[in-house]
Symmetry: D3
Subunit: 131 residues, 6 copies
């Protein structure tokens, strides 16, 4: 096994093409992103991941823009460059303005800071939060 | 130096009391949470952190509920028990329903999963995301 | 002190060369990887790390392929690009097939997801797991 | 919304009971673990997560013991106490001996160490790993 | 919103220029680093972050070299390439020798290792540390 | 295999006792901490870890107090409760004052914040840091 390679539509199995087609239709895009082309190396994980993402990111109690910003917040915390790039783009497409992005980053930074202050000072949970 | 201990209002310096008073007024609460009582061991960090949190979490391009949910997303990713408890409570107070919480958790879980699939498959950033 | 630079065999001290020689002999390779060339900037850490890795990765109750896949799982979780690349290659050399890699990634993704669901829902440990 | 509470079989909706029944049958256990009782607060996430875990952890190119140890490796890296406890128990049930656990921990520790040495020394990926 | 772009002094608002000027004066440098040019997209975060960093990194009970090495330790643990590069340079400027850097990396690696051994073995805190 | 249990001196093998004796002598303490009692389940890892820690934490180019504070910084970033407690105690024993602890925490918090700002804004490394 060498370094994973992307699988393009032209070279994909019918099983993989079915997922690619669903992504393209659902998102109204001419081609799928690299993420899906790499996952196509494992058709079961491709299918399961796409179906999970489609379900989780569908409009619900939270709207799509909020959902994409939460995705960005996690990706920035984990330092996943690809995910930051792709979900920032998706958030922008869903309506995120530069002001919103600035506030999102400010919160993510602040939360990462106070998470560690809590750890270091060994702060016990207030009784009110345990109900 | 032993384990950090909380500093209550009654035992606090004027400098610390001023911050506690501002927290109580701004949030309309009778007492501050443990987080602030522990930070009070370092009055400069207490003051700076409170002023930063106050600025960052104020209503802006994003509304307070969205801001609290982003805070929860980061805290869950980092596994900070205290922060999950306190910011889940704050989010609920700002209007988060159980349905919203369920969707928030689903996205946080999914993002943590796909962040690692990207790492493992070594997915390069699509040219479209680099503009 | 500027950016760390690799130290090649030709420029290495006898102390570093002894470690490089042991790596080359143990692994039957003509040269050591970049990791060791950079660690060579600190001969004590080079020696300690190599001896620890050699001991830990030797066949034991777990076979070398399983060991390399565990190494990949950690590296993917931490997002260490170099470590993912080098230990994926080592796992492949030890017999990891693309199917195995696919399953490995699926588990790593899933574990990262459920780790966060546990955090967010604040799930207490079942009594049965505490014995 | 207050702190998440577990949902027991007796209080569960038919949708949740169907998932609980499948878990109990698949694993041949009299009751489900706390993880599932908490996820039951969001029936969609409960169902999706169970189906994903069932698919990912089924015997395949990797055997169940190896799969559980990989799950433990990720959970230890992330510091998820619940997941470490539950998946260590599952691994033990699948045949993990104390010797295997010891070797697993040694690798997880070592990988977390060398991941950071790579970061700090800014080690570039060897050309051989990029093919 | 597209990919964030740096804002140079020539194109900056008076508000941003005031921060840039203070950075240049405080650090006695002819231009600010990329970090500040990107943060300039959000003038409030730029100002707050600079004032916080200036306060936190000022000489105090800990000297500047120790402070920069702590910054490097965190950045290496989180795998932030930019931060490792910039704070390693700042530490070197403050007097960090290659020997110090080697010891710093050795500790960071070791701490990341033992942090996980503690997690995996589920080690309870000694009573002596709880006082 | 059930939950790991500590191994006390009275029940330890000669191999384990030799390590415990060396820890007690080196640190001039009447008994070893829980960490070592749990690691004793795997004598090879106990021995290797102790010898590595002893080498890494010995006085060198960095003094013991600085070394312990770096250990705390990593442990706080990773959220390892046991390690925060034990290494904070060790740092205090080595001379860390409450003022030093406050500054340490402030830097750790700040570094975790700016690490994420860098990720989110996708800041490229300045050419000056690549030399």
């Amino acid at each position: 096994m060498s370094k994973p390679k992307p699988i393009d539509y032209a070279d994909a199995s019918p099983e993989v093409r079915a997922v690619f087609d669903d992504i393209k239709t659902s998102r109204n895009v001419p081609d799928v992103n690299n993420f899906w082309k790499y996952l196509a190396n494992d058709p079961k994980t491709l299918k399961r991941t796409w179906e999970s993402v489609k379900e989780v990111m569908a409009p619900g109690a939270l709207d799509p823009l909020v959902k994409e910003m939460i995705y960005v917040a996690v990706s920035v915390t984990n330092g996943c460059g690809y995910c930051i790039a792709s979900h920032s783009a998706a958030a922008a497409k869903a309506g995120m303005t530069p002001e919103m992005f600035g506030e999102l980053m400010a919160i993510v930074g602040m939360a990462n800071e106070t998470n560690r202050l809590v750890n270091g000072y060994r702060v016990p949970i207030d009784a009110a939060f345990e109900k």
